[in-house]
């Protein structure tokens, strides 16, 4: 099989590859500029995830200059569109000749970019998508585990559905409920993965004694949830969960209150990720709960700037005038990873050596330790995926109408401190 390395050795670039490999000094010290490609959804519905891109890039440029690294970051906008994400990844690889690809923010962005990189033999570091949709979603036949293959050039760090299940049930265990869970799962990639009766969240909830009431998939941007609310009322559900987009969650929450359906806990992903979305709910946003992957109270420090989470969050707010959000930490960590692998790599422009270097990563980042040792993962995903910690949090409304996200359950990651305990909605 011909791979990039063999092509390089036999092709016109052979002289360069040999000379770079023959010296003990890293290639970047010899004036070979390392090009990094970065694809993220800067516009469109997913743009909130890319909010801290400019902030992180500026930090990376500054630190890279201090460390004397000769790097160039080429940024492309996926426009929240998977096809466009694949196109710009192609452009970055073929037209710009990037040596390392970084990608983040939902499977709609990470998957097309990772697939292109894998096909073009370009090392790729990806984050901010649960690992199942990332790993399984890119397989030729997602329905047949026997056919799944690990990737040669693609690496990913984030948490998985099993962590969400553990975090959610741990939070609910703190409350006194009848253990009946109402599920709101839309007909999209996330909703279908979460709502799948065999591989979704329901079997996991059942293992902890929670019964899931799932009326079925609905379309995103639905204007009426009376059918679901009637079903939940009839089943006497006291907990609501799901993976809901913000407008639908507001529609549901208001209609539920109008119809007198008031559960003890509402724990949803996606809809209440950003403080701006929670603020639009006003008083009914108080004590909504969600999974937390990063917060300003996490006990980690950046390997690039030495900042703690609180300092990074404060810096972001100072630079942009906006409240901190969870993606800030992960976008930052992506550039920590890039700097780390480029510095450790014998030749950062050699894709195979780079892939080996990424696989050997053991780095303490602002989102926790990243090491591809397969811990907590099934064997098929062990080489490409690293799991980062996940805890549970609750939004508390402040007197001025703003919201603060407090970690209320850390059974899944005891080193992350809690700032309170789970409170019922009503």
């Amino acid at each position: 099989m011909i791979n990039r390395r063999k092509l390089l050795k036999t092709g016109a670039a052979a002289g360069f590859a040999v000379s770079a490999g023959g010296l003990a000094m890293p290639a970047l010290a010899q004036g070979t500029r390392v090009k990094i490609g970065y694809v993220s959804p800067q516009s469109g519905p997913l743009a909130g995830f890319a909010e801290s891109d400019a902030f992180a890039l500026e930090m990376f440029k500054r630190v890279a200059a201090e460390k004397g690294m000769d790097v160039e970051v080429l940024v492309k906008d996926s426009q929240s569109n998977p096809n466009r994400a694949a196109d710009v990844a192609q452009e970055l690889i073929i037209d710009d000749g990037v040596h390392l690809m970084l990608v983040a923010s939902t499977p709609e962005t990470t998957n097309p970019v990772t697939t292109v990189c894998e096909n073009e033999f370009i090392p790729c570091i990806s984050t901010m998508a649960p690992w199942q949709p990332w790993f399984i979603g890119q397989q030729g036949n997602p329905g047949d585990p026997a056919s799944w293959r690990p990737f040669d050039y693609a690496f990913h760090y984030f948490w998985g559905l099993e962590d969400v299940i553990a975090v959610f049930t741990n939070m609910w265990d703190q409350l006194d409920t009848n253990k009946k869970v109402a599920g709101l799962f839309p007909n999209d990639a996330d909703g279908n993965a979460w709502g799948d009766p065999q591989n979704g969240v329901a079997p996991g909830f059942a293992a902890d004694g929670y019964e899931t009431v799932d009326p079925g998939r609905y379309q995103n941007l639905t204007d009426d949830f009376s059918a679901q609310i009637n079903a939940f009322k009839q089943a006497d559900c006291e907990i609501v969960t799901g993976v809901v987009i913000p407008p639908d969650f507001t529609t549901f929450r208001n209609q539920a209150l109008q119809q007198g359906f008031s559960p003890k806990a509402i724990t949803v992903a996606k809809a209440i990720l950003f403080p701006q979305s929670v603020e639009t709910l006003g008083e009914s946003g108080h004590n909504l709960s969600s999974e937390v992957w990063w917060s300003k109270n996490h006990p980690f420090t950046s390997s690039l700037t030495g900042q703690g989470c609180e300092a990074l969050a404060a810096d972001f707010t100072k630079a942009t005038g906006r409240p901190w959000t969870q993606p800030i930490g992960y976008i930052h960590s992506l550039f920590e990873m890039a700097a780390d692998v480029i510095q450790r790599a014998e030749d950062p422009t050699d894709p195979d050596l780079m892939a080996e270097t990424i696989a050997a990563t053991d780095l303490q980042t602002i989102v926790g330790r990243i090491v591809f040792n397969g811990e907590g993962l099934p064997p098929f995903a062990a080489t490409n995926v690293c799991k980062t910690p996940l805890v549970g949090g609750q939004w508390r409304r402040q007197d001025d109408g703003s919201f603060e996200l407090l970690v209320v359950d850390n059974k899944t990651a005891p080193d992350i401190p809690t700032q309170g305990s789970m409170e019922p909605l009503s």
């Binding site: 609905y218 009637n230 109008q258 639009t280």
Partner: protein, 287 residues
Amino acid sequence: MIWVDTVVQGILLGGLYALFAAGLSLVFGIMRVVNLAHGDLIVMAAYLILVLVTALNLSPLIALLLAAPLMFAVGWLLQQLVLNRTVGEDVLPPLLVTFGLSVVIQNALLEGFNADSRRIGAGSLEIASFSVGPITIGVMPALTFATAILVTLALQLIFYRTALGRAFRATSDDPDTASLMGIRPGNIFAVATGLGMVVATIAALYLGMRANFDPTIGPARLIYAFEAVIIGGMGSLWGTLIGGIVIGVAQTVGAAIDPEWQILSGHLAFLVILLVRPRGLFPAGGR
């Protein structure tokens, strides 16, 4: 009892769709032009109201009174400067131009307001409800429905009781003959689009109070609005209201069977009505 509730919720939902569709119906009825940017113009109006509410600390209703004339001006200018150049025998240019306009508005809003999900706060009104027998009705959906009826009534009065309405109808029937009678179709079109934007602003208020909006949310509702117009019959304002209700009820009944059927059953109702009555339920000109 759940079935009665389902139908009632569907009728109320239909009010929202009819409100989205009313402006479209007006423009479509007079110019035979489909404005693909209608949804984005509604979102734009929602941002305008939001700005007035937050910057001037106004109540949403007062903000609406300020936003409506502004949006009338936007619609008037849009028609005079852009759309009038595209109106003609060929139906393609207005489609292409409004499609482009839709992209431009979305990205301009994204640039100006970023991707945050926003909302026009309505305080306790958001979750208030009242009971009619065993059925609980939200105050907000009820207000939406009442507004849809009032808007339709007002447009109907303008159409059939005023000189402007006569000019609308004349231009709609035959622009060439109307211009022989001293009417400038271009001006009439501009007033119609302006009026359409006023209705869109009212729809925007309810869109913004009911749920979150962001710059890209506009096109999603355009399809229901368009279906409501077609079901009702082109050029019939009451028909559009009925069309909205048909889609709303079809959706909630479909959802009660299985949430997967919610959107599909709205579309199916549309197709069935097209099969049975290709010109809609109440086509202009009778039959």
